[in-house]
Symmetry: C2
Subunit: 246 residues, 2 copies
Protein backbone atom coordinates (compact mmCIF):
# COMPACT_ATOMS: atom_id res chain seq x y z
CA UNK A 1 0.00 0.00 0.00
CA UNK A 2 1.50 3.30 -1.18
CA UNK A 3 0.48 6.90 -0.55
CA UNK A 4 -0.23 8.04 -4.11
CA UNK A 5 -1.30 11.59 -3.40
CA UNK A 6 -1.91 13.90 -0.48
CA UNK A 7 -4.24 16.84 -0.91
CA UNK A 8 -5.52 19.49 1.45
CA UNK A 9 -8.30 17.33 2.90
CA UNK A 10 -7.54 13.80 1.73
CA UNK A 11 -4.90 11.12 1.27
CA UNK A 12 -5.09 8.62 -1.57
CA UNK A 13 -3.53 5.16 -1.22
CA UNK A 14 -3.13 2.21 -3.55
CA UNK A 15 -5.22 -0.90 -2.84
CA UNK A 16 -3.20 -4.10 -2.90
CA UNK A 17 -4.36 -6.55 -5.54
CA UNK A 18 -6.84 -4.10 -7.06
CA UNK A 19 -4.93 -1.88 -9.51
CA UNK A 20 -8.04 -0.01 -10.75
CA UNK A 21 -9.05 1.06 -7.24
CA UNK A 22 -7.64 3.46 -4.67
CA UNK A 23 -8.44 4.18 -1.03
CA UNK A 24 -9.43 7.77 -0.31
CA UNK A 25 -8.95 8.72 3.33
CA UNK A 26 -10.49 11.93 4.70
CA UNK A 27 -8.30 14.09 6.96
CA UNK A 28 -9.52 16.27 9.83
CA UNK A 29 -8.10 19.42 8.22
CA UNK A 30 -10.09 22.34 6.87
CA UNK A 31 -8.52 24.84 4.49
CA UNK A 32 -9.80 27.94 2.73
CA UNK A 33 -8.59 30.65 0.34
CA UNK A 34 -6.22 28.30 -1.49
CA UNK A 35 -4.92 26.93 1.85
CA UNK A 36 -3.91 30.33 3.22
CA UNK A 37 -6.31 29.67 6.11
CA UNK A 38 -6.00 26.35 7.89
CA UNK A 39 -7.90 24.62 10.64
CA UNK A 40 -9.33 21.30 11.73
CA UNK A 41 -11.72 19.70 14.16
CA UNK A 42 -11.85 16.17 15.58
CA UNK A 43 -13.90 13.71 13.54
CA UNK A 44 -14.14 16.13 10.59
CA UNK A 45 -12.64 13.54 8.24
CA UNK A 46 -15.01 10.88 9.50
CA UNK A 47 -18.05 13.13 9.14
CA UNK A 48 -17.17 14.27 5.62
CA UNK A 49 -16.41 10.72 4.55
CA UNK A 50 -19.83 9.60 5.76
CA UNK A 51 -21.58 12.58 4.21
CA UNK A 52 -19.86 11.98 0.86
CA UNK A 53 -20.74 8.29 1.02
CA UNK A 54 -24.41 9.00 1.66
CA UNK A 55 -24.52 11.58 -1.14
CA UNK A 56 -22.81 9.26 -3.64
CA UNK A 57 -25.32 6.53 -2.74
CA UNK A 58 -28.29 8.89 -3.13
CA UNK A 59 -26.94 10.15 -6.46
CA UNK A 60 -27.08 6.65 -7.95
CA UNK A 61 -30.87 6.79 -7.52
CA UNK A 62 -30.77 9.99 -9.62
CA UNK A 63 -28.80 8.23 -12.36
CA UNK A 64 -25.47 9.85 -11.50
CA UNK A 65 -22.43 7.66 -11.21
CA UNK A 66 -19.43 8.53 -9.10
CA UNK A 67 -16.07 6.94 -8.40
CA UNK A 68 -17.48 5.46 -5.13
CA UNK A 69 -17.17 1.67 -4.85
CA UNK A 70 -17.50 0.84 -1.15
CA UNK A 71 -16.91 2.17 2.35
CA UNK A 72 -13.76 1.19 4.21
CA UNK A 73 -13.89 1.92 7.91
CA UNK A 74 -15.03 5.25 9.35
CA UNK A 75 -13.08 7.76 7.34
CA UNK A 76 -12.18 6.12 4.04
CA UNK A 77 -13.79 4.85 0.89
CA UNK A 78 -12.61 2.65 -1.91
CA UNK A 79 -13.03 4.47 -5.21
CA UNK A 80 -12.24 3.84 -8.87
CA UNK A 81 -8.93 5.26 -10.00
CA UNK A 82 -9.72 7.88 -12.60
CA UNK A 83 -7.77 10.08 -14.96
CA UNK A 84 -8.75 13.42 -13.49
CA UNK A 85 -9.60 16.47 -15.57
CA UNK A 86 -7.48 19.43 -14.39
CA UNK A 87 -10.65 21.45 -13.78
CA UNK A 88 -12.80 22.32 -10.82
CA UNK A 89 -16.40 22.78 -11.87
CA UNK A 90 -18.59 25.19 -9.91
CA UNK A 91 -22.37 25.35 -10.25
CA UNK A 92 -24.25 28.30 -8.81
CA UNK A 93 -27.95 28.71 -7.98
CA UNK A 94 -27.46 31.95 -6.07
CA UNK A 95 -24.63 34.48 -6.12
CA UNK A 96 -22.26 33.95 -3.17
CA UNK A 97 -18.63 33.95 -2.15
CA UNK A 98 -15.97 34.81 -4.74
CA UNK A 99 -18.54 35.58 -7.46
CA UNK A 100 -20.34 38.12 -5.25
CA UNK A 101 -17.00 39.81 -4.56
CA UNK A 102 -15.60 39.70 -8.12
CA UNK A 103 -18.75 41.15 -9.69
CA UNK A 104 -19.97 43.37 -6.87
CA UNK A 105 -23.31 41.55 -6.57
CA UNK A 106 -25.10 41.05 -3.25
CA UNK A 107 -24.66 37.59 -1.77
CA UNK A 108 -27.85 35.58 -2.02
CA UNK A 109 -29.12 37.04 -5.29
CA UNK A 110 -30.77 34.20 -7.27
CA UNK A 111 -29.44 33.60 -10.78
CA UNK A 112 -31.75 33.50 -13.84
CA UNK A 113 -30.46 30.00 -14.66
CA UNK A 114 -27.80 27.86 -12.96
CA UNK A 115 -24.27 28.95 -13.88
CA UNK A 116 -21.54 26.39 -14.63
CA UNK A 117 -17.99 27.68 -14.25
CA UNK A 118 -14.64 26.01 -14.92
CA UNK A 119 -11.55 26.72 -12.84
CA UNK A 120 -8.13 25.54 -13.94
CA UNK A 121 -6.74 23.40 -11.11
CA UNK A 122 -3.36 24.86 -10.23
CA UNK A 123 -2.45 25.82 -6.66
CA UNK A 124 0.38 28.14 -7.74
CA UNK A 125 -2.05 30.11 -9.90
CA UNK A 126 -4.84 29.94 -7.27
CA UNK A 127 -7.19 28.00 -9.59
CA UNK A 128 -8.11 30.76 -12.07
CA UNK A 129 -11.53 30.98 -13.75
CA UNK A 130 -11.29 29.84 -17.37
CA UNK A 131 -13.82 30.01 -20.18
CA UNK A 132 -14.61 26.91 -22.24
CA UNK A 133 -12.98 28.59 -25.23
CA UNK A 134 -9.77 29.19 -23.25
CA UNK A 135 -9.67 25.52 -22.22
CA UNK A 136 -10.15 24.49 -25.87
CA UNK A 137 -7.88 27.00 -27.59
CA UNK A 138 -5.07 26.79 -25.03
CA UNK A 139 -5.15 22.99 -24.90
CA UNK A 140 -5.66 22.83 -21.13
CA UNK A 141 -6.96 19.24 -21.26
CA UNK A 142 -3.89 17.07 -21.90
CA UNK A 143 -3.77 14.88 -25.02
CA UNK A 144 -7.09 16.18 -26.39
CA UNK A 145 -7.55 18.07 -29.64
CA UNK A 146 -9.57 21.27 -29.77
CA UNK A 147 -12.70 19.44 -30.98
CA UNK A 148 -12.28 16.62 -28.45
CA UNK A 149 -11.92 19.21 -25.70
CA UNK A 150 -15.05 20.94 -26.98
CA UNK A 151 -17.01 17.66 -26.76
CA UNK A 152 -15.73 16.90 -23.26
CA UNK A 153 -16.70 20.37 -22.02
CA UNK A 154 -20.18 20.06 -23.53
CA UNK A 155 -20.62 16.71 -21.74
CA UNK A 156 -19.25 18.22 -18.56
CA UNK A 157 -21.70 21.12 -18.74
CA UNK A 158 -24.65 18.75 -19.22
CA UNK A 159 -23.31 16.55 -16.39
CA UNK A 160 -22.99 19.60 -14.12
CA UNK A 161 -26.59 20.65 -14.72
CA UNK A 162 -27.94 17.15 -14.14
CA UNK A 163 -25.83 16.81 -10.97
CA UNK A 164 -27.09 20.19 -9.78
CA UNK A 165 -30.74 19.18 -10.21
CA UNK A 166 -30.12 15.94 -8.31
CA UNK A 167 -28.21 17.64 -5.49
CA UNK A 168 -30.80 20.40 -5.12
CA UNK A 169 -33.38 17.67 -4.42
CA UNK A 170 -31.13 15.63 -2.13
CA UNK A 171 -30.24 18.64 0.03
CA UNK A 172 -33.80 20.00 -0.03
CA UNK A 173 -34.96 16.66 1.37
CA UNK A 174 -32.93 17.44 4.52
CA UNK A 175 -34.03 21.06 4.79
CA UNK A 176 -31.02 22.65 3.07
CA UNK A 177 -30.83 24.91 0.04
CA UNK A 178 -27.95 24.25 -2.36
CA UNK A 179 -26.58 27.75 -3.04
CA UNK A 180 -23.56 26.56 -5.03
CA UNK A 181 -21.08 23.69 -5.12
CA UNK A 182 -17.79 22.61 -6.61
CA UNK A 183 -17.02 19.21 -8.04
CA UNK A 184 -14.30 17.34 -9.89
CA UNK A 185 -14.57 14.64 -12.51
CA UNK A 186 -12.38 12.06 -14.15
CA UNK A 187 -12.67 9.37 -16.76
CA UNK A 188 -12.50 5.67 -15.93
CA UNK A 189 -10.68 3.07 -18.03
CA UNK A 190 -13.69 2.85 -20.36
CA UNK A 191 -13.57 6.61 -20.97
CA UNK A 192 -16.73 7.36 -18.98
CA UNK A 193 -17.05 10.67 -17.14
CA UNK A 194 -17.54 10.00 -13.41
CA UNK A 195 -18.05 12.29 -10.44
CA UNK A 196 -14.92 12.17 -8.27
CA UNK A 197 -13.51 13.77 -5.12
CA UNK A 198 -16.34 14.56 -2.68
CA UNK A 199 -19.68 16.30 -2.20
CA UNK A 200 -19.67 17.62 1.38
CA UNK A 201 -20.12 20.90 3.30
CA UNK A 202 -16.51 21.60 2.24
CA UNK A 203 -17.58 21.74 -1.39
CA UNK A 204 -21.22 22.96 -1.15
CA UNK A 205 -22.80 26.14 0.20
CA UNK A 206 -25.83 24.90 2.16
CA UNK A 207 -28.32 27.31 3.72
CA UNK A 208 -31.07 26.12 6.03
CA UNK A 209 -34.34 26.39 4.12
CA UNK A 210 -36.16 27.93 7.11
CA UNK A 211 -33.53 30.00 8.94
CA UNK A 212 -30.98 30.72 6.11
CA UNK A 213 -28.33 29.59 8.63
CA UNK A 214 -25.13 28.40 6.93
CA UNK A 215 -24.26 24.69 7.23
CA UNK A 216 -21.00 24.69 5.28
CA UNK A 217 -17.37 25.74 5.15
CA UNK A 218 -18.32 29.43 5.17
CA UNK A 219 -18.67 29.01 8.97
CA UNK A 220 -14.90 28.35 8.95
CA UNK A 221 -13.95 30.81 6.15
CA UNK A 222 -15.81 33.65 7.86
CA UNK A 223 -15.16 32.73 11.50
CA UNK A 224 -18.86 32.30 12.23
CA UNK A 225 -18.27 29.64 14.89
CA UNK A 226 -20.13 26.36 15.24
CA UNK A 227 -18.18 24.72 12.44
CA UNK A 228 -18.10 21.20 13.91
CA UNK A 229 -21.74 21.49 15.02
CA UNK A 230 -22.84 22.39 11.47
CA UNK A 231 -21.03 19.44 9.87
CA UNK A 232 -22.39 17.08 12.56
CA UNK A 233 -25.92 18.38 11.91
CA UNK A 234 -25.62 17.86 8.14
CA UNK A 235 -24.59 14.23 8.72
CA UNK A 236 -27.35 13.72 11.29
CA UNK A 237 -29.99 14.99 8.85
CA UNK A 238 -28.70 12.82 5.98
CA UNK A 239 -28.65 9.72 8.20
CA UNK A 240 -32.25 10.22 9.32
CA UNK A 241 -33.47 11.15 5.84
CA UNK A 242 -35.93 8.60 4.50
CA UNK A 243 -35.04 9.58 0.93
CA UNK A 244 -38.47 11.11 0.38
CA UNK A 245 -40.14 7.72 0.25
CA UNK A 246 -43.87 7.98 0.94
Amino acid sequence: VTLLYEGKAKQVFSVSGEPDLVRMEFKDSLTAFNAQKKGDFPAKGMINCQIATLIFQKLIRHGIESHFVRSEGDRAMIVKQLIMLPLEVVVRNRVAGSLAERLGIAEGKPVRAPIVEFYYKNDALADPLVTAEQVESLGLLPHLSISQTHEVLLSLQAFAKKLNQALIKIWQQVGLELVDFKFEVGTDKDGRLLLADEITPDSCRLWDLKTQEKFDKDRFRRDLGGVAEAYHEVLRRLKTDDGGRP
Copy 2:
Protein backbone atom coordinates in the same frame (compact mmCIF):
# COMPACT_ATOMS: atom_id res chain seq x y z
CA VAL B 1 -21.43 71.86 -26.31
CA THR B 2 -21.29 69.79 -23.11
CA LEU B 3 -18.68 67.38 -21.80
CA LEU B 4 -20.73 64.18 -21.60
CA TYR B 5 -18.07 61.82 -20.37
CA GLU B 6 -14.38 61.80 -19.53
CA GLY B 7 -12.48 58.52 -19.65
CA LYS B 8 -8.84 57.63 -19.14
CA ALA B 9 -7.80 58.52 -22.69
CA LYS B 10 -10.73 60.41 -24.17
CA GLN B 11 -13.31 63.14 -23.62
CA VAL B 12 -16.74 62.94 -25.21
CA PHE B 13 -18.70 66.12 -26.04
CA SER B 14 -22.14 66.77 -27.41
CA VAL B 15 -22.40 68.16 -30.97
CA SER B 16 -24.70 71.15 -31.26
CA GLY B 17 -27.62 70.57 -33.60
CA GLU B 18 -26.81 66.89 -34.09
CA PRO B 19 -28.32 64.95 -31.16
CA ASP B 20 -27.34 61.50 -32.51
CA LEU B 21 -23.65 62.41 -32.77
CA VAL B 22 -20.89 63.11 -30.25
CA ARG B 23 -17.35 64.44 -30.56
CA MET B 24 -14.66 62.10 -29.22
CA GLU B 25 -11.44 63.90 -28.36
CA PHE B 26 -8.26 61.94 -27.70
CA LYS B 27 -6.13 62.98 -24.71
CA ASP B 28 -2.35 62.72 -24.45
CA SER B 29 -2.57 60.45 -21.40
CA LEU B 30 -1.54 56.82 -21.21
CA THR B 31 -2.74 54.57 -18.42
CA ALA B 32 -2.17 50.93 -17.55
CA PHE B 33 -3.18 48.36 -14.92
CA ASN B 34 -6.60 49.91 -14.36
CA ALA B 35 -5.04 53.41 -14.22
CA GLN B 36 -2.65 52.55 -11.41
CA LYS B 37 0.16 53.55 -13.78
CA LYS B 38 -0.14 56.89 -15.54
CA GLY B 39 1.86 58.70 -18.19
CA ASP B 40 1.59 60.76 -21.34
CA PHE B 41 3.56 62.08 -24.28
CA PRO B 42 3.00 65.10 -26.53
CA ALA B 43 0.86 64.45 -29.60
CA LYS B 44 -0.22 61.03 -28.27
CA GLY B 45 -3.89 62.00 -28.54
CA MET B 46 -3.38 63.28 -32.08
CA ILE B 47 -1.52 60.14 -33.15
CA ASN B 48 -4.09 57.75 -31.68
CA CYS B 49 -6.94 59.73 -33.18
CA GLN B 50 -5.35 59.50 -36.62
CA ILE B 51 -4.54 55.81 -36.21
CA ALA B 52 -8.10 55.03 -35.10
CA THR B 53 -9.47 57.05 -38.02
CA LEU B 54 -7.37 55.18 -40.56
CA ILE B 55 -8.31 51.81 -39.03
CA PHE B 56 -12.04 52.63 -38.99
CA GLN B 57 -11.79 53.67 -42.67
CA LYS B 58 -9.94 50.49 -43.61
CA LEU B 59 -12.45 48.36 -41.69
CA ILE B 60 -15.31 49.63 -43.86
CA ARG B 61 -13.63 47.94 -46.84
CA HIS B 62 -13.75 44.70 -44.80
CA GLY B 63 -17.47 45.15 -44.20
CA ILE B 64 -17.12 46.24 -40.59
CA GLU B 65 -19.01 49.30 -39.45
CA SER B 66 -17.93 51.48 -36.57
CA HIS B 67 -19.29 54.56 -34.85
CA PHE B 68 -16.92 56.75 -36.95
CA VAL B 69 -18.65 59.48 -38.97
CA ARG B 70 -15.98 62.07 -39.82
CA SER B 71 -12.73 63.61 -38.62
CA GLU B 72 -12.82 66.88 -36.72
CA GLY B 73 -9.45 68.57 -36.45
CA ASP B 74 -6.27 66.77 -35.43
CA ARG B 75 -7.33 64.91 -32.32
CA ALA B 76 -11.07 64.42 -32.51
CA MET B 77 -13.65 62.55 -34.48
CA ILE B 78 -17.39 62.85 -34.78
CA VAL B 79 -19.00 59.51 -33.97
CA LYS B 80 -22.49 58.11 -33.62
CA GLN B 81 -23.83 58.16 -30.10
CA LEU B 82 -24.36 54.55 -29.11
CA ILE B 83 -25.83 52.71 -26.18
CA MET B 84 -22.68 50.98 -25.01
CA LEU B 85 -22.56 47.38 -23.82
CA PRO B 86 -20.87 47.24 -20.39
CA LEU B 87 -18.32 44.76 -21.73
CA GLU B 88 -14.79 44.93 -23.01
CA VAL B 89 -14.17 42.24 -25.60
CA VAL B 90 -10.66 40.81 -25.96
CA VAL B 91 -9.57 38.66 -28.91
CA ARG B 92 -6.32 36.71 -28.69
CA ASN B 93 -4.20 35.14 -31.42
CA ARG B 94 -1.24 34.47 -29.12
CA VAL B 95 -1.01 34.22 -25.33
CA ALA B 96 0.27 37.48 -23.83
CA GLY B 97 -0.16 39.88 -20.95
CA SER B 98 -2.72 39.08 -18.26
CA LEU B 99 -3.64 35.71 -19.79
CA ALA B 100 -0.01 34.54 -19.75
CA GLU B 101 0.22 35.51 -16.07
CA ARG B 102 -3.15 34.14 -14.95
CA LEU B 103 -2.63 30.74 -16.57
CA GLY B 104 1.16 30.43 -16.28
CA ILE B 105 1.65 30.12 -20.05
CA ALA B 106 4.68 31.55 -21.86
CA GLU B 107 4.01 34.85 -23.62
CA GLY B 108 3.91 34.41 -27.38
CA LYS B 109 2.43 30.91 -27.45
CA PRO B 110 0.04 30.72 -30.41
CA VAL B 111 -3.53 29.65 -29.64
CA ARG B 112 -5.24 26.76 -31.47
CA ALA B 113 -8.05 29.11 -32.50
CA PRO B 114 -8.65 32.79 -31.68
CA ILE B 115 -10.06 33.28 -28.18
CA VAL B 116 -12.85 35.78 -27.51
CA GLU B 117 -13.13 36.94 -23.90
CA PHE B 118 -15.62 39.24 -22.19
CA TYR B 119 -14.67 41.53 -19.33
CA TYR B 120 -17.31 43.31 -17.27
CA LYS B 121 -16.55 47.04 -17.50
CA ASN B 122 -16.28 48.30 -13.94
CA ASP B 123 -13.26 50.25 -12.73
CA ALA B 124 -13.96 49.54 -9.05
CA LEU B 125 -13.90 45.80 -9.77
CA ALA B 126 -10.91 46.11 -12.16
CA ASP B 127 -12.92 44.79 -15.16
CA PRO B 128 -13.25 41.11 -14.18
CA LEU B 129 -13.32 38.30 -16.75
CA VAL B 130 -16.86 36.98 -17.16
CA THR B 131 -18.16 33.96 -19.02
CA ALA B 132 -21.05 34.31 -21.46
CA GLU B 133 -23.19 32.25 -19.09
CA GLN B 134 -22.42 34.63 -16.20
CA VAL B 135 -23.42 37.63 -18.34
CA GLU B 136 -26.68 35.86 -19.26
CA SER B 137 -27.60 34.34 -15.89
CA LEU B 138 -26.63 37.38 -13.83
CA GLY B 139 -28.35 39.84 -16.15
CA LEU B 140 -25.23 41.96 -16.76
CA LEU B 141 -26.66 43.51 -19.94
CA PRO B 142 -29.29 46.00 -18.74
CA HIS B 143 -32.91 45.61 -19.90
CA LEU B 144 -32.23 42.33 -21.75
CA SER B 145 -33.76 38.95 -20.90
CA ILE B 146 -31.59 35.85 -20.61
CA SER B 147 -32.41 34.77 -24.19
CA GLN B 148 -31.91 38.28 -25.60
CA THR B 149 -28.54 38.45 -23.83
CA HIS B 150 -27.65 35.06 -25.28
CA GLU B 151 -28.41 36.31 -28.81
CA VAL B 152 -26.41 39.52 -28.31
CA LEU B 153 -23.39 37.58 -27.06
CA LEU B 154 -23.56 35.17 -30.01
CA SER B 155 -23.62 38.16 -32.39
CA LEU B 156 -20.80 39.76 -30.46
CA GLN B 157 -18.68 36.61 -30.70
CA ALA B 158 -19.22 36.40 -34.46
CA PHE B 159 -18.48 40.12 -34.77
CA ALA B 160 -15.28 39.70 -32.74
CA LYS B 161 -14.02 36.92 -34.99
CA LYS B 162 -14.80 38.84 -38.18
CA LEU B 163 -13.16 41.97 -36.76
CA ASN B 164 -10.11 39.92 -35.78
CA GLN B 165 -9.72 38.53 -39.29
CA ALA B 166 -9.98 42.02 -40.77
CA LEU B 167 -7.56 43.57 -38.29
CA ILE B 168 -5.03 40.75 -38.73
CA LYS B 169 -4.91 41.65 -42.45
CA ILE B 170 -4.84 45.41 -41.91
CA TRP B 171 -1.94 45.25 -39.46
CA GLN B 172 -0.11 42.59 -41.50
CA GLN B 173 -0.22 44.99 -44.43
CA VAL B 174 1.98 47.37 -42.42
CA GLY B 175 4.35 44.70 -41.15
CA LEU B 176 2.71 44.12 -37.76
CA GLU B 177 1.33 40.96 -36.18
CA LEU B 178 -1.89 41.36 -34.21
CA VAL B 179 -1.19 39.40 -31.01
CA ASP B 180 -4.40 40.44 -29.25
CA PHE B 181 -6.73 43.40 -28.98
CA LYS B 182 -9.58 44.81 -26.93
CA PHE B 183 -12.65 46.50 -28.32
CA GLU B 184 -15.97 47.92 -27.21
CA VAL B 185 -19.32 47.93 -28.96
CA GLY B 186 -22.62 49.67 -28.71
CA THR B 187 -25.95 49.68 -30.48
CA ASP B 188 -27.18 52.61 -32.58
CA LYS B 189 -30.76 53.89 -32.63
CA ASP B 190 -31.70 51.17 -35.12
CA GLY B 191 -30.37 48.48 -32.77
CA ARG B 192 -27.34 47.64 -34.91
CA LEU B 193 -24.12 46.49 -33.23
CA LEU B 194 -21.29 48.90 -34.11
CA LEU B 195 -17.61 48.97 -33.22
CA ALA B 196 -17.01 51.87 -30.83
CA ASP B 197 -14.18 53.42 -28.81
CA GLU B 198 -10.86 52.99 -30.67
CA ILE B 199 -8.49 50.55 -32.31
CA THR B 200 -4.96 51.83 -31.60
CA PRO B 201 -1.67 50.70 -30.05
CA ASP B 202 -3.40 51.38 -26.71
CA SER B 203 -5.88 48.60 -27.42
CA CYS B 204 -3.85 46.19 -29.60
CA ARG B 205 -0.67 44.19 -29.01
CA LEU B 206 1.32 44.68 -32.23
CA TRP B 207 4.59 42.88 -32.82
CA ASP B 208 6.83 43.67 -35.78
CA LEU B 209 6.54 40.75 -38.22
CA LYS B 210 10.31 40.68 -38.82
CA THR B 211 11.90 41.75 -35.52
CA GLN B 212 9.12 40.84 -32.98
CA GLU B 213 9.67 44.37 -31.58
CA LYS B 214 6.63 45.66 -29.70
CA PHE B 215 4.75 48.62 -31.21
CA ASP B 216 2.07 49.04 -28.56
CA LYS B 217 1.25 50.08 -25.01
CA ASP B 218 3.41 47.27 -23.57
CA ARG B 219 6.36 49.66 -24.18
CA PHE B 220 4.73 51.90 -21.55
CA ARG B 221 3.38 49.12 -19.28
CA ARG B 222 6.78 47.43 -19.11
CA ASP B 223 9.01 50.52 -19.21
CA LEU B 224 10.66 49.41 -22.46
CA GLY B 225 11.29 53.01 -23.64
CA GLY B 226 10.58 54.37 -27.10
CA VAL B 227 6.85 54.70 -26.43
CA ALA B 228 6.30 57.85 -28.50
CA GLU B 229 8.55 56.56 -31.29
CA ALA B 230 6.55 53.33 -31.54
CA TYR B 231 3.18 55.12 -31.80
CA HIS B 232 4.63 57.56 -34.38
CA GLU B 233 5.97 54.63 -36.40
CA VAL B 234 2.58 52.85 -36.38
CA LEU B 235 0.90 56.00 -37.73
CA ARG B 236 3.66 56.51 -40.31
CA ARG B 237 3.22 52.96 -41.61
CA LEU B 238 -0.57 53.25 -41.80
CA LYS B 239 -0.34 56.58 -43.66
CA THR B 240 2.05 55.19 -46.29
CA ASP B 241 0.11 51.92 -46.63
CA ASP B 242 -1.43 51.58 -50.07
CA GLY B 243 -4.09 49.25 -48.69
CA GLY B 244 -2.58 46.29 -50.52
CA ARG B 245 -3.75 47.54 -53.92
CA PRO B 246 -1.74 45.98 -56.76
